[in-house]
Subunit: 335 residues, 3 copies
């Protein structure tokens, strides 16, 4: 409240590199900017009151062509915590939007209402189409495979918060490594930094695709090994990223039941893990992490939820070109 | 706007007794605090502008696992009128939340977004589970029988606004007294104050359960009488609390039609009532109060809607520990 | 934020003529007030920051008994851009509202929460009923035929923005002129100003109803001619208002396919049009304007979306009696 934000000044000389652009994938964002977004998220976390009016007068539109309440609430809270406002629709409400109108027309329309858009759509490529039609920044909140850049930013922020760094780490990824696009995106982004040892833990039926393995092989000082045995490797890990093993991926129920238990993390399995290993999970979980693990200090998946909101605050303000009060000064002092 | 609220100071030394706790039922809230909430609601009503920034920077999450638009809008308006913001979902949007995720996990997640939660759920006990998992205050907005503490606070606020007191009154309750949990909660709470004469007006099929009658018998100076004849007792009442008689409660339609009209309040029946009797109804009504009654000065049910918003403003700010500007000073002067 | 709005003062002496009333149709709003609303919309467009707190502390309720996302988002954004807040429901969420409760009761309830209401309902006449029950201003956002006053204000604002005036113009209306109530409302309102030459372009099956033609005949210096040939008249037009030709209006598919192409506007047809003709469309479009036309400077339909938000800002603030800072002074200087 005491912070008087001047929109005219903040959109003129203070050029933020990401300002005005859309983010459909992290692949075309320079690594220095990705790391800067993580710095911003960490700064926001410790300067909640200072940043509470960063986006005063802004409006975010959440266009969710399929429901994803968790992701929608995270985007919306992020904007509200920055002082902005929210409009939008989710799933069942969209009848009149989808009725014969193209995504492009909807985005051209919404560009007249909102300053920034988060879009989720069941069809792969929809976010790119949306970003090309819109005259305001668009953030991909999941299309098709439901991979989306803010999930990967969330994962990176959580690893760095727990381990103090993003490489020179042994990172285990466990569960469905074939269809889990969240995992592919995380691996790909970490490979850009290099110096990561991946341990890929899955049943034979759900191994990592060749294009991801090739990405690791071609990266500076990255290695991987594949295994089906979580118990055998858990003691080597700095980070364990759990994913859900969906029954529908298996040909028969016997295989599913046999394998499922192998990939459930519980207190018993955790006894062999390092005392400072970080456990991540993109949530929602079904039963792949036992509830008893929630109270283990290594559990980082609810902290991950919090980081999800923080990286979205960082990204939304950066794309809008609304500078976080005090951030630049603090960074200059640190440098 | 001119009121600059300092969050750091208001969450430190100014200890509000209810601060930080959840409210699943009124039964474990001391009567002094219930009365203080009613005082706060009355204060808010006459100090709208002074309290308009009490919850600046706060976020309420409304998690409505079944639709109840009336209740949801009341909770949301309450937070907006205090300067806060709202996120949430309602009914049809919740697919992705309910998909395999436990209420506990959802509440742990939402605790990272919001400062306070209002939850409505079709299963009895859901609000208690939610309050145990959340790390922020949770308000029960109805679970199972749809009894919820803010409805009872609303009823109490309306009785006090109309009659100037909550006991030394003859209070009639009319209609479905078997399944109407709103009525049970109101009786139970009034019994804690004592000195109330209840007149329980219902068909034989819908009489008050024994546990409620026992509650009245064991209370200081409370009495009750049961009757099926509204006309015969309406002249004795200070307050008449109407409820809906649902057709599905009856074995056959003949019984329903025969009884229904007996429990419809209209101008004709009101001729026998006192000129200052207050007519309450939890709404929505179907036909149990004729529309002609709306213009009678004794009708208090739309004032009740207004009181519903005011008590939610009182409760939300109290649980957040956000002190209403000027309230304490006024109370000290009054004492 | 720097703008301190004083609610007490702005609701006392500064009497705005429209303050406190409901708008179900434009027919009973004096033309001077309609023109003043257009002036206000234009003022808002060039004074975004000055008006950003005009409605601080206000709450708009959007009661959409059927989904119309485009219209809902426009009303909501308008209130948010004025500093107010929004509550409401849309389509699927309304179960509990509609469950046996009359529109009148819902409006009496919501009048306790909100300062102004926008209602959309599938039944003709619902908005009038709502306005009679509510104790706050109600805006008709479409009932029955989906004609609504803010659509016509939007069209007028766009014509005036493009042509500098609302009469002494040749205005073509093309497509479904029988069922397109948007078109009827626009013609009727323009006839109140007089001096408009209408060119009514439609297939024989979809000609303008007699009551609309009679309205034109009885207006001062208005003329019309009917034609089925867009190509033959496009060169004469100052404004071309396109509408959708819906397949279900035709007896057989052959007729539909034969006629449809005649009424699709594309770059080829536009070659014969004047260089400063304005192309309007109420949106959403299906295929009646080719996407290639979007980049033509004559295309005004996305500017129309923007004007829709601006006229809603003008109308909401006027009905609330919240004066736009600086507007009156500017108008006095101009006069």
């Amino acid at each position: 409240m005491s912070q008087q934000v001047d929109h005219a000044s903040k959109t003129s000389s203070d050029v933020v590199p990401l300002r005005g652009r859309s983010v459909v994938t992290l692949d075309d964002i320079p690594m220095t900017q990705i790391l800067d977004l993580l710095d911003r998220a960490a700064y926001i976390d410790t300067h909640r009151r200072q940043v509470a009016h960063t986006c005063d007068g802004r409006v975010l539109a959440t266009l969710f062509y399929e429901p994803s309440t968790r992701t929608r609430l995270s985007f919306e809270t992020a904007m509200l915590r920055l002082g902005g406002q929210v409009i939008g629709f989710a799933g069942a409400q969209l009848a009149s939007v989808s009725k014969g109108e193209s995504i492009s027309d909807t985005l051209k329309t919404v560009s007249n209402y909102a300053d920034i858009v988060a879009i989720r759509h069941p069809k792969e490529g929809a976010a790119l189409v949306a970003s090309q039609a819109a005259t305001v920044p668009v953030i991909n909140a999941g299309d098709g495979g439901h991979m989306h850049p803010t999930q990967t930013l969330t994962d990176l922020a959580t690893i760095r918060a727990r381990k103090g760094r993003l490489n020179h780490l042994t990172i285990g990824l466990c569960g469905d490594l074939t269809f889990g696009r969240t995992v592919h995106s995380l691996i790909t982004t970490l490979c850009r930094l290099g110096h990561v040892d991946f341990v890929l833990i899955s049943p034979d039926e759900l191994r990592t695709p060749e294009y991801v393995l090739e990405r690791i092989r071609s990266s500076a000082d990255c290695t991987y090994r594949e295994t089906g045995d979580l118990n055998g490797v858990i003691g080597d890990l700095d980070v364990l990223y759990m994913t859900r093993v969906q029954q529908e991926r298996f040909f028969n129920e016997d295989d599913y039941l046999r394998l499922r238990d192998t990939y459930i993390l519980d207190a018993d399995k955790l006894r062999a893990a390092r005392p400072d290993m970080a456990i991540l999970h993109p949530l929602p979980r079904v039963n792949e992490i036992a509830v008893e693990v929630d109270h283990d200090p290594r559990a980082a998946y609810f902290q991950q939820v919090r980081n999800g909101m923080l990286v979205r605050m960082a990204l939304e303000s950066a794309l809008l070109g609304d500078e976080l009060p005090g951030y630049r000064e603090q960074k200059e002092v640190a440098a």
